[in-house]
């Protein structure tokens, strides 16, 4: 009955990645990949987008790369959750 919209899936993927990074404190791509359940190429694409939007910060330590949430990213999570709760009342699901 409830109609899903195409834009939702990208937004939900963003949210899953950001929440994973928030919960982990700092997260390596492999960890995000596991928790957000994404293919590697898609994950890299989304991570680049989130870094370019300044929602995530990419850092390098030794040979490994990891991500941390920016204040803007934390604000994004809160705002999307509020919006999600609001639209749920009208029958829209992410």
């Amino acid at each position: 009955m409830v109609q899903p919209e195409k834009a939702r899936s990208t937004l939900k993927t963003y949210l899953d990645i950001l929440v994973t990074v928030r919960d982990e404190g700092r997260a390596k791509p492999t960890r995000i990949l596991q928790r957000a359940n994404l293919a590697y190429d898609r994950l890299n694409k989304h991570l680049q987008e989130l870094v370019s939007k300044q929602l995530l910060d990419e850092r390098q330590e030794d040979d490994s790369r990891y991500y941390v949430l920016t204040p803007k990213g934390l604000e994004f999570i809160e705002n999307v959750r509020k919006a999600k709760a609001f639209v749920k009342g009208f029958g829209i699901a992410l």
Partner: protein, 227 residues
């Protein structure tokens, strides 16, 4: 009647402010979630808020509610007409938006609650008091209120479908809000049919309770987001 006007104005004003708040919240949500439903909600509630504020101005300037407007003969009737037309458009926009959020497409039923029809027949005799332009406007106001009720039936049906699917408190608060607004308009229709306007305080109170339910929904949405 005059002693109830301050209460009516207060309830309408608060209802209008809440409607504008819901509109603002829908507008804010649009920044994060692109959805035609949110566009409709934002625009619809903005119109609804504007309609209620027009009603407040009308009530204050004329010292009379929309239910009694058929007694007026001057251009001041246009203010009441603007209120009703804004309500019709606002609710129609919300109904379209709400309808889009569900697969269940329904047709508006032309049938009115039988009690209302029966009452309309008995009240017809009372319209004999009115003549000419006043009578035409009486039927126009009656018709617009009737359209508002039909649109609200559609909205409530959509709300019921959403709640049946979600079983979520937010959906229930939205459904309850629109149900109370429907009851309020039913009371207004009854008041117009009776050419009394006496029940308008009851209508304004019930409508305010409906908007309080929508306010509770908005507050709840904000709290969920903060957790």
């Amino acid at each position: 009647m005059a002693d109830t006007l301050p209460l009516v104005v207060t309830f309408d004003l608060l209802s209008g402010i809440i409607a504008l708040l819901v509109s603002y919240y829908a507008f804010q949500a649009r920044r994060w979630i692109e959805s035609s439903v949110l566009n409709a909600m934002s625009f619809g509630f903005m119109l609804l808020g504007a309609a209620l504020l027009v009603e407040v101005v009308t009530t204050l300037s004329l010292g009379i509610t929309v239910a009694q407007a058929s007694r007026l003969r001057t251009f001041e009737l246009l203010e009441n007409l603007a209120y009703l037309i804004l309500q019709v458009v606002a609710l129609a926009v919300i109904a379209v938006g709400y309808g889009r959020s569900t697969y269940g497409k329904t047709n508006l039923q032309a049938a009115a609650p039988s009690g209302v029809v029966a009452y309309a027949v008995t009240a017809a005799a009372k319209t004999a008091k009115l003549a000419g332009l006043a009578l035409e406007l009486y039927y126009l106001f009656l018709g617009l209120e009737f359209v508002i009720l039909l649109v609200l039936i559609f909205i409530i049906f959509q709300g019921f479908l959403v709640y049946s699917k979600n079983r979520d408190d937010s959906s229930l608060l939205v459904l309850l809000g629109f149900a109370l607004i429907f009851v309020s308009h039913a009371v207004v229709l009854n008041s117009i049919l009776a050419i009394s306007g006496g029940e308008y305080l009851v209508a304004a109170t019930v409508q305010f309770l409906g908007f309080l339910s929508l306010l509770a929904f908005v507050v709840r949405s904000g709290r969920v987001g903060s957790t």
